[in-house]
C-alpha cells in the first residue's frame, strides 16, 4: 500500500512517485511486447506503408517541369502568364539549352507526356523539338568553324576551357551542372568528370563554360567517354557565339586559344543573331501557341493540385479552377458509381447473409458445422475461378439464359444481358464478398444466448416481436462489422469488375489500374487512390460517430 499525503503525489514504498515506479515496472513488459511485433511492423513499414506513402505523394509531386526545364521556368517567372503576350526571346534561348540537354538525356518525351495530361498536343511538340533542337544556330556554327578549324577540334576546346596549367579552377560550375543533370535524369550522376574550367575563362565566357561543363559531365558520366576526346555539343558553340556577341572583353585574356577567340569575336560580329523563337517555331509551330506556354508556366512549381483537380473532373486554367468540358468528365461519375454499387453489394450481402448467419448460430452443432463448411467453401476456391464461373453463368449464351429460354420464359432473340454491366458486377461481387458478411454476423449472433428470445416470449412477445425487439438489436453489431468489412473491400475491388464489369460495371479501381499500367499517369492514379482512401476513412469516421466502433465485433 502506498501512502497518500494531502500535498504531494502518491509515493511508492521507496519514496519515488508511484506513477514513475509503475512506468518503470511496465517498461520491460512494453519493450517485450514491442519486440514481438517489431518484425511484422518493420516488414509492413518497409514493404507496404512506405511505398504506398511514396505512391500517394506522387499525386501532388510535379518536379518534372522544373527539373527538365529549369532555366526556362526561371525566365517564365518574369513573364505574366495571364495576358496575351508571348514569352520573350530570353525564354526561348533558355528553352534551347534546356531542350538540348533533355533531348540528350532522352527525358523530353516524358515531360511531353506529363504536360499532355493538362493540354492535349504538347507531347508531339516536345517530341519533334527534341529531334531537331541541334539544328538551332547551324549557320552561325558553320561560320564559326569557317573562321578557324580549331572550333571543331575537341582538344582545343578542352584546353581553352581548362585554361593554363595551374590556373585557378571553378569547380562549382561543374558541380552545379552535375546536380542539374542528376535531377533531370533522376540518377546519382556521381563519378569523376576529369574536367574543371579555369576561373578566368568562366568569368569571361559564362554561358560557354556552363554549356561545356554540362557537356563534360554528361560525356564523362552518362556516356563514359573522355571529355578531351569528344567534340563539344552544338550548345557549347552556340553559347560561345552568344558570349562573344554579347561583348566578352577579351583584351586582357592571354590564356590558351586567346588568338582564336579574338578572331572569332571579330568574325562573328557581322553574322546575324540566332533567332531562337523562330527556330522553335520552325520545329513545331505549337511553340507559338500561348496556351501551351501558359500550361508550362502553370505546372512549373514543384507541387501541383492538378492531379487532384483532374481526379474530380476539374482543371486549372489561368482563370482559376474550372470544371472540365462535359465530354471529358468521367471520374465523378465513376466515384458515384463505385459508391452506389458498393452500397448495393453491401445491402444485398446483409439480406442474404443474415438468415444464413442466424441458422449457423442457432442450428445444432453438427448441422451448423456442415453449413459453415459450405459458407467457407468459396474461400478455398480461387477468386478468378469464381468470377469466371459467373461469366459462364450469366452470359447471353450462358447457363441461366439457356435455362430461361428452354423454359420458355425468355425469347431466344431477347436473351437477358446480365454480364458486362452493373448487374453482373453486383451479382458476382455479392457472391464473392458474402462470407465476409456471414462470419462477423455469425460470431456476434453465436454470443446471443437463446434465453433472451425465450424471455421475450414468456413476457408475451410474438415470435416476430421477440426477434425484432430483442434478437435483432443485439445482432446489429454483427451487421455493422460485416458491412464495414464488405463495403471497404467492395469499394476498392478490382478483379471482379474488371472481368464481369464491361464498361458500365467498372469501379474507380479499374481506372486507377489503367493509369498505373497503361496510360502511366501515376500522378492521377495516386490522386484517385488518395481520394478513395479519404472516402473510406471519412465513411469509417462517420460510422464511428453514428454507430460507434465499439459496437463492432469481429469475433
Amino acid at each position: 500500500m502506498s501512502d497518500t499525503t494531502d500535498s504531494g503525489p502518491v509515493l511508492a514504498a521507496d519514496g519515488t512517485p508511484l506513477k514513475r515506479s509503475l512506468n518503470r515496472a511496465l517498461r520491460a513488459q512494453k519493450m517485450r511486447a514491442l519486440a514481438l511485433i517489431a518484425p511484422l511492423l518493420i516488414f509492413v513499414l518497409v514493404t507496404f506503408i512506405a511505398p504506398i506513402a511514396d505512391m500517394l505523394f506522387r499525386s501532388v509531386e510535379n518536379q518534372i517541369v522544373s527539373n527538365t526545364l529549369p532555366n526556362t521556368v526561371a525566365t517564365l517567372n518574369d513573364w505574366d502568364g495571364t495576358g496575351d503576350t508571348m514569352p520573350g526571346e530570353e525564354t526561348f534561348e533558355a528553352l534551347y539549352y534546356d531542350m538540348f540537354l533533355a533531348a540528350e538525356s532522352k527525358r523530353h518525351t516524358r515531360l511531353g507526356s506529363r504536360l499532355n495530361y493538362e493540354e492535349a498536343g504538347i507531347s508531339s511538340m516536345f517530341r519533334t523539338s527534341g529531334r531537331r533542337v541541334d539544328d538551332v544556330g547551324e549557320d552561325q556554327i558553320d561560320a564559326l568553324e569557317d573562321i578557324d578549324e580549331s572550333w571543331g577540334d575537341e582538344a582545343f576546346w578542352f584546353a581553352l576551357m581548362s585554361g593554363a596549367d595551374g590556373a585557378a579552377k571553378a569547380d562549382d560550375i561543374v558541380e552545379a551542372q552535375r546536380t542539374r543533370l542528376s535531377r533531370l535524369n533522376e540518377t546519382g550522376f556521381s563519378g569523376e568528370v576529369g574536367f574543371a574550367p579555369s576561373q578566368e575563362i568562366a568569368d569571361l565566357l559564362p554561358r560557354t563554360v556552363r554549356a561545356y561543363s554540362a557537356f563534360a559531365v554528361f560525356t564523362a558520366i552518362a556516356d563514359g567517354d573522355v571529355v578531351a576526346e569528344e567534340e563539344p555539343w552544338e550548345t557549347v558553340k552556340v553559347a560561345l557565339i552568344e558570349d562573344l556577341r554579347n561583348g566578352a572583353d577579351l583584351s586582357g585574356y592571354d590564356g590558351p586559344g586567346a588568338e582564336e577567340l579574338r578572331a572569332a569575336q571579330e568574325g562573328m560580329a557581322d553574322q546575324p543573331a540566332i533567332d531562337y523563337k523562330q527556330a522553335f517555331l520552325d520545329m513545331n509551330e505549337d511553340w507559338g501557341d500561348l496556351d501551351n506556354w501558359k500550361t508550362i508556366k502553370m505546372y512549373a512549381p514543384p507541387f501541383t493540385e492538378g492531379y487532384f483537380l483532374n481526379a474530380i473532373d476539374m482543371q486549372k486554367t489561368p482563370e482559376g479552377f474550372q470544371a472540365r468540358p462535359e465530354s471529358e468528365q468521367i471520374y465523378i461519375k465513376l466515384f458515384k458509381r463505385t459508391l452506389f454499387m458498393s452500397l448495393m453489394i453491401t445491402g444485398s450481402c446483409i439480406l442474404l447473409a443474415y438468415p444464413v448467419a442466424f441458422l449457423l448460430a442457432n442450428l445444432p452443432m453438427r448441422t451448423s458445422s456442415l453449413l459453415m463448411i459450405l459458407v467457407l467453401l468459396p474461400f478455398w476456391t480461387s477468386l478468378l475461378v469464381r468470377t469466371s464461373a459467373w461469366k459462364v453463368m450469366l452470359q447471353q449464351q450462358g447457363v441461366i439464359n439457356d435455362t430461361l429460354v428452354w423454359l420458355g420464359l425468355v425469347d431466344d432473340a431477347s436473351r437477358l444481358v446480365m454480364i458486362n454491366n452493373q448487374f453482373g458486377t453486383i451479382v458476382a461481387m455479392t457472391h464473392i464478398l458474402l462470407p465476409f458478411m456471414i462470419l462477423p454476423m455469425y460470431s456476434v449472433m453465436s454470443t446471443i444466448p437463446p434465453y433472451y428470445v425465450r424471455a421475450a416470449k414468456s413476457l408475451g412477445a410474438t415470435n416476430w416481436t421477440a426477434f425484432w425487439r430483442v434478437y435483432f438489436p443485439q445482432s446489429v453489431p454483427g451487421i455493422g462489422a460485416g458491412s464495414i468489412l464488405v463495403f471497404i473491400l467492395a469499394i476498392g475491388y478490382y478483379i471482379t469488375p474488371e472481368i464481369v464489369g464491361g464498361t458500365t460495371g467498372t469501379f474507380i479501381s479499374n481506372r486507377i489500374a489503367y493509369h498505373i499500367s497503361i496510360s502511366l499517369n501515376w500522378g492521377l492514379a495516386a490522386a484517385l487512390g488518395s481520394i478513395l482512401l479519404a472516402a473510406v476513412l471519412i465513411l469509417y469516421w462517420a460510422y464511428d460517430k453514428i454507430v460507434g466502433i465499439d459496437n463492432v465485433k469481429l469475433g
Binding site: 444466448p449 434465453y451 414468456s458 413476457l459 408475451g460 421477440a466 438489436p473
Partner: protein
C-alpha cells in the same frame, strides 16, 4: 406415486412424458397438481427432469405425451407468449440493449397497454423490489442482486397468475441468496401468485416452499411440505437428498403395521418404522437423522434401542458438534449434538452407547 390431482387445481400435469431423442425419457409419467397461490419447488439433482418440466409449463418444450392444464385449460398447443406466465431465468435474461424501465415496459408494450398505465405499472413494480431509482440504468450497470430484482419485477409487472423461476438465485453469493429467498417468498405470498420454483439447493427449497417436489430420474420421488419431506422421507433417495442422513443396511426380520424388526448386516437387531418395505426377508436401508441420535441413552426411555459405537472423529462447528462414529461396521455414521452447557465433547477412540426412538428410524427401500 401418489395421485395428487385435486378438483380445484390451478396447474396440472397429467401423465406427462418428455423425450428429446425418441430413445430416453427425460420425464417419466409426471403427475402434479397445484392449487392457486401455492409456492411449489421442484428440487432435484441436475438431469432429473425438473427444468424440462418447467420449460414444458412455460411452453418452450412440448410434452411428448400427456396433458398440462392451466386453470382447467389444456395448454399443450398454446404458444408461450399466449400463456401469460411470468418467468425468471437463471441468468436473468434482462435485455442488454434496453434500460431497466424499458425492460419492464416490454411485456406491457406487447400487450398494447397505454403509455400512462405502463409507466405507472413499471414504477410500481420497481418500487416493489426497491429499485425505484434505477429505471434509467442498463442491466450491465447493475450488480447481480439488483439484476435479480429487476428480473423478478419484470416477471411480475404484467400481473401473471403463475410465475416460474428457474434457479433464479444460482448466481448470487450466499448472503444475498438468503436475503432474496426471503424477499421472493414474501412477495409471492403478498401478491398471492402461484409460483413454481426450480432449484437444486435443498435449503432454498425447504425454506421457501409450501410444498417441495423432489425429482429424480424423471419422476417425482416425493411431493410434500418441507417438514414432512425432511422428517418422513418416503424413500432412500429423498432421505439421502434432503438434509444429512445416516444409513444402515439390513434385512427385515419381522414386520408389523407400525414397527418392524431389522437385522443389521453385523447381526444386531433394531426396531424401525416400516415405510416402503413390504415383507419379511426384504433388504432395507435404515435412515436416521444425525440430530435424532442420542448419546445420553438414559433420556430415551425403555423401548429405545441402543447400539455400541466407537468415536472416530470429533468436529467442532460452533453451534453444534459433529461426531463421526463407527456403528455396525460402518464408520460414516454422523451424529450432531447441540453445543449446550452440559454437553460432553467425545474423544476419538472412546467407546459409547448410542440410541434413538424407533419412530425416528425409518426402514426404506434398499439402495
Amino acid at each position: 406415486m401418489a395421485d395428487t390431482t385435486t378438483g380445484d387445481a390451478f396447474v396440472e400435469f397429467e401423465r406427462v412424458q418428455k423425450s428429446y431423442d425418441g430413445e430416453n425419457l427425460v420425464v417419466k409419467d409426471l403427475n402434479l397438481s397445484m392449487p392457486k397461490g401455492e409456492f411449489l419447488t421442484m428440487l432435484g439433482p441436475s438431469g432429473s427432469g425438473k427444468t424440462t418440466c418447467l420449460m414444458m409449463l412455460a411452453g418452450f418444450e412440448t410434452a411428448t405425451h400427456g396433458e398440462i392444464k392451466l386453470d382447467g385449460r389444456p395448454i399443450n398447443n398454446i404458444p408461450p407468449h399466449k400463456r401469460g406466465i411470468g418467468m425468471v431465468f437463471q441468468n436473468y435474461a434482462l435485455f442488454p440493449h434496453m434500460t431497466v424501465a424499458e425492460n419492464l415496459s416490454f411485456p406491457l408494450e406487447v400487450r398494447k397497454i397505454g403509455k400512462a398505465d405502463r409507466e405507472a405499472k413499471v414504477k410500481r413494480a420497481l418500487d416493489m423490489v426497491q429499485m425505484g431509482a434505477f429505471g434509467g440504468r442498463r442491466p450491465a450497470q447493475l450488480s447481480g442482486g439488483q439484476q435479480q430484482r429487476i428480473a423478478l419485477a419484470r416477471a411480475l409487472v404484467f400481473e401473471p397468475e403463475l410465475v416460474l423461476m428457474d434457479e433464479p438465485l444460482g448466481a448470487l453469493d450466499k448472503q444475498l441468496r438468503e436475503h432474496m429467498q426471503f424477499e421472493i417468498t414474501n412477495l409471492a405470498h403478498e401478491l398471492g401468485i402461484t409460483t413454481v420454483y426450480v432449484t437444486h439447493d435443498q435449503t432454498e427449497a425447504l425454506t421457501m416452499s409450501d410444498r417441495v417436489a423432489v425429482f429424480d430420474d424423471g419422476r417425482i420421488q416425493q411431493l410434500a411440505p418441507p417438514d414432512e419431506l425432511y422428517e418422513s422421507p418416503e424413500n432412500s433417495f429423498v432421505a439421502q437428498f434432503i438434509g444429512e442422513n445416516n444409513t444402515l443396511e439390513g434385512t427385515i426380520k419381522e414386520i408389523g403395521d407400525d414397527i418392524c424388526l431389522v437385522e443389521l448386516d453385523d447381526g444386531e437387531l433394531i426396531d424401525a418404522k416400516p415405510v416402503n418395505v413390504s415383507k419379511v426377508g426384504d433388504r432395507t436401508t435404515i435412515s436416521i437423522r444425525p440430530e435424532r441420535v442420542e448419546v445420553d441413552t438414559a433420556k430415551l426411555g425403555e423401548n429405545a434401542h441402543t447400539l455400541k459405537a466407537e468415536v472416530m472423529e470429533f468436529i467442532y462447528m460452533g453451534d453444534v458438534f459433529r461426531t463421526r462414529l463407527r456403528v455396525a461396521g460402518k464408520d460414516d455414521f454422523i451424529i450432531k449434538t447441540r453445543n449446550s452447557a452440559d454437553q460432553r465433547r467425545l474423544q476419538p477412540g472412546e467407546q459409547i452407547q448410542i440410541g434413538w426412538l424407533p419412530r425416528d428410524c425409518r426402514a426404506l427401500d434398499a439402495v
